[in-house]
C-alpha cells in the first residue's frame, strides 16, 4: 500500500505540483521538480529497473501535462536517470556540494536536450532558448533545491520500503567455514 502511494505520488503528484506552482513563479525561477525527482530516485531508489520504469512514467505524465511532444520528457528522464545512476556508482553523492554540482550539470544538459529535441522535431523552432539568461537561472534554482528534494526523495523511498522490509523475512546467506 505504501509503495503504491509512493509510486502514485511520484508519477502523478510531482508533475501536478509543478503545474500548480506555475502561476506563482516565473518559469525561469521555478524548480524543475520532475527532473530533481529523477535525480533523487537515481540516488535513493534501490532497484534500477523499476526506477527506470518509474521515471519514464513520470516523464510521460509531464509530457501529458505540458506542451511537449509525448515522450520527450520520458526519454530525457530515462537518460538522466541512467546517467545519474551510473555516475553515482563511481562518484560519491553524499553531501550537499556534490549534489548541487551534479544537479547544476544535469539541468544544463537537460535544457540542451529539451530545446534540441524541440528544435529537431518542430519546424521553425530554434535554439535561441539556450541563452545563458534563460538557462542559468534554471540551473541555479535547481542546484539550490536539489539537496532538499534528494533528502525528501530518500525519506519517501525509506517510508515506502518500510512496509516491505517489515513483511519480508530477512535472509542472511551463511557459509560454512572450515579452518
Amino acid at each position: 500500500m505504501r509503495r503504491t502511494l509512493a509510486l502514485l505520488a511520484i508519477v502523478f503528484g510531482v508533475p501536478m505540483l509543478e503545474g500548480a506552482l506555475a502561476p506563482f513563479l516565473p518559469a525561469a525561477f521555478r524548480p524543475d521538480l520532475p527532473l530533481l525527482v529523477v535525480l533523487a530516485l537515481a540516488l535513493a531508489w534501490r532497484n534500477t529497473a523499476t526506477g527506470l520504469v518509474l521515471v519514464a512514467m513520470c516523464g510521460f505524465v509531464v509530457d501529458l501535462f505540458s506542451g511537449a511532444l509525448l515522450g520527450q520528457h520520458a526519454l530525457l528522464s530515462v537518460l538522466a536517470f541512467a546517467a545519474a545512476r551510473a555516475l553515482s556508482q563511481h562518484v560519491s553523492m553524499i553531501g550537499t556540494l556534490p549534489q548541487i554540482v551534479f544537479a547544476a550539470g544535469l539541468t544544463a544538459v537537460h535544457a540542451i536536450g529539451v530545446v534540441g529535441l524541440t528544435t529537431f522535431f518542430t519546424p521553425g523552432a530554434d535554439l535561441a532558448l539556450l541563452r545563458p539568461g534563460v538557462v542559468l537561472p534554471r540551473v541555479a534554482v535547481n542546484a539550490l533545491i536539489a539537496p532538499t528534494v534528494n533528502a525528501l526523495g530518500a525519506a519517501l523511498v525509506a517510508w515506502a520500503s518500510g512496509e516491505e522490509t517489515g513483511r519480508r523475512p530477512l535472509r542472511i546467506a551463511t557459509r560454512s567455514w572450515v579452518p
Binding site: F12, G13, P15, M16, L17, E18, G19, A20, L21, A22, P23, F24, P26, A27, A28, R30, D32, P34, T48, A49, L52, V53, A56, G59, F60, V61, V62, L64, F65, S66, G67, A68, L69, L70, G71, Q72, H73, A74, L75, V78, L79, A82, A111, V114, V115, L117, T118, F121, T122, G124, A125, L129, V134, R138
Partner: protein
C-alpha cells in the same frame, strides 16, 4: 557473470524505454503535422483521471493566491479605483467620438458584419493547470471531446486571444498559449493596418513585420488578421511596447505586451467553430470534426 547479465538487461531496458519514448515522439509529431491530435486511449484516460485531481492539488495554492489578491494586495485599491474611474470616463468620451467618426465614414455596416462573424458558439472552460514543464507554455482545461472541443479551436478570454487547442481527451483538453515558442499568429496593427506575425518567446510576445516604412509605434493595438484561418479577424492580441529601430535588416521586431494576463488566467472560452481552412487542415478519418451542438446546449 550475473553482474554482467544484469548490466546487459538494464542497458536493454533503458534502450527499450528510450526507444518507446522516441517512437511516441515521432507519432505525436506526425499527428500534430496532420492536424488532429486526439490523445490515445491510455494517455486520454490518464488525463481524464488527472484533471480532477489536479483541481484538488491546486486548491491550497488558489487559497493562498486568493488571500494575497483579496486582502494583502488590496491596499492600493482605492487609488487604483479612482484612476480606473477616470480612465473609464475618458474611454467613454473617446468611444463616443469614435462612434461618431465611424458613422461618418460609413463603416458601421462592416462592424455589424464582423459581429456576425464572431457569432460563434463558445464554451466556458476552467483552467485546471499550467504547464508541468518550465520549457513550454500550455494549459489544461476541463472540457474535452464530450463537450465539443477539438484540436485547432481557438481559446480566447474576454480580453483577447489566449491560444489554441492542441490535444483533446474525452473530458479534458490541452491548449498552447500564445506565449509558447511554437506559437505564431498573423496580426495586423489596428491603427495603420500593417501586417506581421506575433510570435511567442516563452516569456512574452514579439511582433515581426517587414518593411522599413511600416508604421508601427509604441501603444499600437495588435489584432488578429484572420489570415491563416485559425483565429477570426479582429481579436485583440496585445499592445506594442518598444519598436526596433530601422536598420539595414528587412525584418523588424517590436515587443508586445499581451492583453491577456496569462499568470492570472482562470477561465477561457473555446470558440466551438473552426474556420473552413482549419476544418480542411484538421479533417481526419476518425471524425475530428467539431460538432458545436452538444456544447452549445450545455449552456455556455
Amino acid at each position: 557473470m550475473t553482474e554482467i547479465r544484469s548490466r546487459v538487461l538494464l542497458a536493454g531496458l533503458t534502450a527499450l524505454l528510450a526507444g518507446f519514448a522516441l517512437v511516441n515522439m515521432v507519432v505525436d509529431r506526425r499527428a500534430l503535422a496532420q492536424g488532429g491530435r486526439e490523445l490515445s486511449w491510455w494517455s486520454g484516460l490518464a488525463l481524464d483521471i488527472a484533471v480532477p485531481i489536479q483541481k484538488f492539488v491546486a486548491i491550497p495554492f488558489e487559497i493562498a493566491r486568493g488571500s494575497w489578491s483579496d486582502y494583502i494586495a488590496l491596499q492600493g485599491v482605492r487609488r487604483e479605483n479612482g484612476d480606473l474611474r477616470t480612465k473609464l470616463a475618458e474611454s467613454e468620451d473617446e468611444n463616443l467620438q469614435l462612434r461618431e467618426a465611424l458613422v461618418a465614414s460609413g463603416r458601421l455596416d462592416r462592424i455589424a458584419e464582423m459581429r456576425e462573424e464572431f457569432d460563434v458558439p463558445m464554451l466556458r472552460a476552467d483552467l485546471v493547470g499550467l504547464d508541468a514543464s518550465t520549457w513550454f507554455r500550455s494549459v489544461l482545461i476541463d472540457r474535452g471531446r464530450n463537450h465539443g472541443v477539438h484540436s485547432g479551436m481557438p481559446l480566447i478570454s474576454e480580453l483577447g486571444v489566449v491560444g489554441l487547442v492542441t490535444a483533446t481527451s474525452r473530458n479534458a483538453a490541452k491548449g498552447m498559449l500564445l506565449l509558447d515558442r511554437q506559437s505564431a499568429v498573423s496580426a495586423v496593427v489596428q491603427r495603420s493596418r500593417d501586417r506581421g506575425v506575433v510570435r511567442g518567446t516563452g516569456d512574452g510576445l514579439v511582433f515581426e513585420f517587414v518593411g522599413r516604412d511600416a508604421d508601427v509605434a509604441p501603444g499600437d493595438v495588435l489584432i488578429t488578421s484572420g489570415l491563416g484561418g485559425v483565429f477570426p479577424k479582429g481579436l485583440r492580441i496585445g499592445v506594442v511596447g518598444t519598436v526596433e529601430e530601422v536598420s539595414a535588416k528587412l525584418q523588424r521586431e517590436a515587443t508586445v505586451d499581451p492583453v491577456v494576463d496569462f499568470g492570472r488566467l482562470e477561465q477561457v472560452f473555446v470558440m466551438l467553430r473552426r474556420s473552413p481552412t482549419m476544418d480542411l487542415l484538421y479533417a481526419t478519418d476518425g471524425g475530428d470534426q467539431p460538432d458545436p451542438a452538444p456544447a452549445a446546449k450545455s449552456g455556455s
